[in-house]
Amino acid sequence: MIQFQANKTLLTAAGRQQMDVAFEVKKGKLLTLYGPSGAGKTTILRILSGLTSVSSGYIKVDGETWYDPRKKINVPTQRRSIGFVFQDFGLFPHWSVYDNLRYALPKGEDPHLMHELIELMELGSLQHTRPIFLSGGQQQRVALARAIVRKPRLLLLDEPLSALDDDMRHRLQDYIVKIRKHYELTTVLVSHHLPEIIRLADEVIWLDKGRIRQQGTPEKIFPGSAPDSPHLILSPRTPEP
């Protein structure tokens, strides 16, 4: 279970705006952050991971406080059990795919999951290749595998499937569903892809200008009826396959 509350001044293209967001995610559930760019979606992932600081707020994950300025607690990123898939992947260019995954594997950990991930993500033939020689979709698969390899308590995905074709996107969505169930991974996903949200999310937060505009199940948020529903805005670009 994640309990999150944060206050922060965001510097966006439209100028300064105040972010004020609070939410909870139950253990093993997937929350999707949805909204226009500059709404604060990536910032929330960065705050959860400890990469970005906030003016006030708190973060509690499975009963463990990660951030609480009143108690002077701020667990550094390294000691938060997270897996983060960055928008630009953040793969280590000097290592092969295999070495990227190997670096992520905690010391003494059984490499079984790593080999399983290599197989599931179809990285077997690419494991000795360096990231620079991979396509965007291949890099995304490596980044996803690398984030999962250390079995984090909290998985943070910043548009992790955006560079994939529909077929691979589907397979990886299936895989995310499967691995989350298997390891009970609580997940926060930033996504613009409506079919993906409907398929993966247990809950959606629609953010706008640093505030929660709507919150609820995908069915509640995207009924396709409200005149300003994002479903209507996005559906021409992201048809159901």
Binding site: S49, G50, L51, P76, T77, Q78, R79, R80, I82, G83, F84, F86, D88, F89, G90, L91, F92, P93, H94, S96, Y103, A104, P106, H128, T129, R130, I132, F133, R146, A147, R150
Partner: protein, 212 residues
């Protein structure tokens, strides 16, 4: 007969200085690249100062500073002076190397639970290899080329502080052009080869490796 001792002293000085500078400059450049402390601009300016100051100014202050410790006119004194004199040639390439790396590299390593030092050694340094090489070579070459500072701190003592650049000046003064020319030629050829190697290697690094 050429006296090889000044050349040997120059190389020894440059080698020791470069190794020490590498040890000092990696944490220093790392801190300058990632610290949010506002006063770091002052430190950056101080480090770069030897690039624009006349060597005699640096030599003068170092002479004053080292006098009480009896390090003036010793090889150790020369090494200390060279560390200050060549510091920007090591720190600045490393600093621009760190700054040119995408922030996601460091952040990704942190999210994988890796400490600052592991991230530095395993992720950041291997990705700034061209900057490391540039820093090493420039510091080495710059130390070999010192004149004003080594003259003031070292005092031109044969066998102890009389490095090649000073030997050239000495031979010139005694109208011994043949000897001066031999030292000059060695330094010229060496400096040129070093810079050529740096350019060739950096050219190689800037291309993706077709074998991987």
């Amino acid at each position: 007969m050429t006296d090889w001792q000044p050349l040997w002293l120059s190389f020894r000085l440059a080698f020791i200085t470069t190794v020490l500078l590498l040890v000092i400059s990696i944490p220093l450049a790392y801190w300058l690249a990632y610290s949010r402390w506002r006063g770091k601009a002052v430190i950056e300016a101080l480090i770069s100062l030897p690039m624009v100051l006349p060597p005699t100014v640096l030599g003068f202050y170092l002479l004053i500073a080292l006098s009480p410790s009896h390090l003036v006119f010793t090889f150790t004194g020369l090494v200390i002076a060279s560390l200050f004199y060549s510091l920007p040639f090591m720190v600045n390439p490393l600093l621009s190397g760190f700054k040119s790396l995408p922030p996601a590299l460091r952040e990704a390593s942190y999210t994988l639970g890796k400490s600052d030092s592991i991230t530095l050694i395993k992720v950041l340094l291997p990705n700034i290899r061209p900057s490391l090489l540039t820093g090493i070579v420039l510091s080495f070459a710059h130390t070999i080329g010192e004149f004003g500072v080594v003259l003031m701190i070292g005092g031109n003592i044969p066998g102890r502080t009389r490095v090649a650049s000073l030997a050239i000046y000495d031979e010139m003064q005694s109208m011994n052009y043949a000897a001066a020319s031999r030292y000059a030629l060695v330094l010229f050829a060496l400096s040129f080869s070093i810079l050529l190697i740096v350019h060739l290697v950096n050219h190689h690094f800037s291309k993706p490796d077709p074998l991987s």
